[in-house]
């Protein structure tokens, strides 16, 4: 049986163009970009070209792009960095995050609050993709506020109304952070269109290596570094830069953005077909966030009549179909997803299975996924 990978929202392979772009910087052009000599200058040139390339893909200025080591680091730097800068001004600010944020934002916020660096608030999100703007306004009225709302939710594929939120935050003089890990290359992410202040992105969801990422910091947004060392990345993220990684990331972002519309159309058609085939073959299933605007690459399914969603993922694996429960982050944990809890309530009886599509996904893969899901769900319901 051909293995069927439908977990591109968890991670992706490095694409050939990215690998080719990186290759010269892994051994041939190896200099430290901070060095004075020719080796260093070559590396620095590559790094700054990558920065400019990435910035252009987002509609940003090169000075607004900081290279970091992945999405979690980027989220943490945004939240802790912003709190640190507020603290320097003697403020105890508010962080208001949506109820469906990634753990990197959720846990960082809890930690910030635990340390007494900020108060925190939750912004309600409904299954049809509406965000409680009153919650946001209430937070903004409380004083200096960082609002953090992800652009595309990783578990459900829901696209959150960042444009609307950005206007509200911007009008009130607040700061908006958005995790764009699942958004870049899937929906239009352009900082000229949306006045977000901080964006956290990662490479490995878009065919760049794991451990690559960026933080967009709009000029004038105060941020305190969280690591201390050699002053690289304008002091915001010290540590010798991963030049090859930066080049790979910039290449991946450029390609993802360039291919967004065509690939989005292709994936939407595939995803819709998968969705209708599953709805036709199984009863008692639900498309999570089905009424909301959704990114093209994710289908999150709620399956009723199954006691244990993690067993469904394992059983599909044994059928050669790789999918996730909600996110891929915890080691076999049966802990209920906070995202589905926020959208459908804590006692929601549906188990979640997330299919996520990518550049190598074909109709045949999806046909196999449907067959395997029907087999496995049937067996589990009979058990």
């Amino acid at each position: 049986m051909d293995p069927t990978y439908l977990d591109y929202a968890a991670t992706t392979p490095v694409r050939e163009e990215v690998l080719a772009a990186m290759a010269p910087y892994l051994s041939g052009i190896f200099g430290n970009p901070s060095s004075v000599h020719a080796w260093g200058r070559q590396a620095e040139n590559a790094l700054e070209l990558a920065r400019a390339e990435l910035a252009e893909s987002l509609g940003a200025a090169p000075s607004e792009v900081t290279f970091v080591r992945g999405g979690t680091e980027s989220d943490n730097l945004a939240l802790f960095g912003w709190c640190g800068a507020q603290r320097a001004r003697g403020e105890v600010p508010t962080i208001a995050i949506s109820a469906v944020e990634h753990h990197a934002v959720l846990e960082a916020t809890e930690h910030v609050e635990h340390q007494g660096l900020a108060k925190s608030m939750r912004i309600g999100v409904t299954a049809d993709g509406r965000v409680a703007v009153d919650d946001i306004r209430r937070a903004l009225a409380a004083g200096p506020t960082l609002v953090s709302v992800m652009w595309v939710n990783n578990e459900s594929g829901m696209v959150l109304p960042i444009g609307e939120i950005a206007d509200i935050v911007s009008d009130a003089g607040g700061t908006l952070h958005s995790d764009v890990a699942q958004a870049v290359g899937k929906v239009l992410v352009d900082v000229r269109e949306v006045p977000a202040d901080l964006l956290s992105g990662t490479g490995h969801k878009i065919y760049a290596p794991k451990g690559t990422g960026f933080l967009f910091v709009r000029d004038g947004t105060p941020l305190a570094p969280q690591l201390h060392g050699g002053g690289q990345e304008r002091g915001l993220r010290p540590g010798t830069q991963d030049v090859a990684g930066a080049v790979g990331l910039a290449t991946a972002v450029r390609l993802a953005v360039a291919e967004r519309e065509a690939e989005g159309t292709r994936l939407t058609a595939l995803r819709d077909r998968l969705e209708s085939d599953l709805l036709g073959a199984l009863d008692c299933i639900r498309v999570n966030a089905g009424e909301a605007l959704r990114a093209p690459h994710i289908l999150s399914l709620g399956v009723a009549g199954i006691e244990d969603g993690s067993a469904l993922i394992m059983a599909l694996d044994l059928e050669g179909v790789a999918v996730s429960g909600g996110s891929a982050c915890t080691s076999g944990s049966a802990e209920a997803s906070h995202v589905m809890g926020a959208l459908y309530g804590e006692d929601d009886p549906f188990a979640t299975v997330r299919f996520s599509l990518g550049k190598d996904t074909t109709a045949e893969h999806l046909q196999r996924a449907v067959e395997a899901t029907v087999t496995v769900v049937g067996r589990m319901r009979a058990a």
Binding site: D308, A311, A315, D317, L318, S331, G332, M380
Partner: protein, 367 residues
């Protein structure tokens, strides 16, 4: 298709169990049960079933080329095993959580989840043997009597027996280690786990304090003799078990042992070694893995995990039963198991509710 789920703790026994099944050509799936959250206890890196156990099990499964999954059973385990453990100590009894886990949690969960994965058999690294004949399946003590673990399995649901496999039950521990070494399994020389998996600090009283808070079981009480004389004070009866030698200071003429724990009055009763003996044992929560022996039948009963079985007569039978020991035994401990055998064959067992002495001038009951 015969697909076997093998419970891999990350120890050498279950590693070799998995290897034997793979060699025999079965479609094998390894699982490790995540039983308890260790996040607020310091890591000592030794215990099975913990996250280190998961890592080792994954490495072995990878080397054997089989899938491996983690089953998060923390909720069931906490309710059925940890809460029971705490409750038993609070009542002045001495629980046996491994018995409880095997009988109530581990194999039931494995079977239920295994079915979802298309598995019709469950295997583990226990040193017992499953014998199949025309009367059904019964469990026999492991070939290596020094490592035999039949005592821990009396609580299994009988209907599961035909679906169980214990590949190392025919081997000695030395053979298991040799097998693991020849396969270059990472767990080959891993030390035995000794402590209770959810008490990694080795002191169960820490867990009791955490889960009970303020409770009479953890408050000071009197140490009394069987005739009622107060001879000292203790810091909480949950720290005692029947049969435990109790140093009282003050130079008593002969060593004293805990005879009984009286939860209602918080008294720990002590006496001489002679006073420890009991010959009638009341057993509750009885579970049979074979047909129930009739009243009057002679059986062998094992009263401690490392004690030899002794002969007894079944006096009254049912969900609770009473057995008379042919020879009085020391330190028959409420909360521990009474496990019945016919030779090597495991018949069943139950929890010891109480024991008393009927012959030869003993004193009182342990209840």
């Amino acid at each position: 298709m015969s697909r076997v789920l093998v419970a891999m703790s990350g120890g050498v026994d279950s590693s070799v169990a998995a290897a034997i099944l793979v060699e025999a050509g079965h479609d094998v799936i390894g699982v490790t049960m995540k039983t308890f959250c260790y996040s607020d206890t310091p890591s000592h890196g030794k215990t099975c079933c913990g996250l280190d156990g998961i890592t080792d099990a994954k490495r072995v499964a990878g080397a054997l080329g089989i899938p491996h999954y983690v089953f998060d059973v923390e909720e069931d385990f906490t309710r059925d095993v940890v809460d029971d453990f705490v409750h038993e100590y609070a009542q002045g009894r001495t629980p046996n959580p491994c018995v409880r886990c095997n009988g109530n949690t581990k194999f039931r969960d494995l079977m239920r989840r295994g079915r979802a994965l298309g598995c019709d058999r469950i295997a583990s690294g226990h040193y017992v043997r499953a014998a199949h004949d025309e009367t059904g399946t019964s469990l026999l003590r492991g070939r290596d009597h020094a490592k035999d673990q039949a005592y821990f399995l009396w609580g299994l649901p009988r209907e599961l027996l035909p679906r169980l496999a214990f590949p190392v039950g025919e081997l000695t521990k030395d053979e298991v280690r040799a097998r693991a070494r020849s396969l270059e399994l990472v767990t080959a020389d891993k030390p035995e786990s000794q402590e209770i998996c959810f008490v990694p600090t080795g002191d169960y009283r820490d867990l009791l304090r955490k889960r009970l808070g303020t409770h009479p079981a953890l408050e000071a009480g009197s140490i009394v003799t069987s005739s009622g004389d107060v001879v000292g004070e203790h810091a909480g009866y949950a720290g005692f078990t029947v049969g435990q030698r109790k140093g009282l200071g003050g130079g008593s003429p002969e060593p004293l042992f805990v005879l009984e724990i009286r939860a209602e009055s918080r008294e720990v009763v002590v006496g001489t070694h002679d006073e420890l003996f009991r010959d009638e044992v009341q057993v509750g929560e009885v579970n049979w893995l074979t047909d129930q022996p009739p009243v009057g039948a002679a059986v062998r009963v094992q009263l401690r995990s490392r004690a030899p079985a002794v002969t007894a007569t079944v006096e009254a039978a049912g969900d609770e039963l009473t057995v008379s020991l042919w020879d009085p035994q020391a330190a028959v401990t409420p909360g521990q198991s009474a496990v019945f055998f016919d030779g090597d064959r495991l018949l069943g067992g139950g929890r010891i509710i109480a024991a008393r002495i009927t012959a030869a001038g003993g004193s009182g009951t342990a209840s």
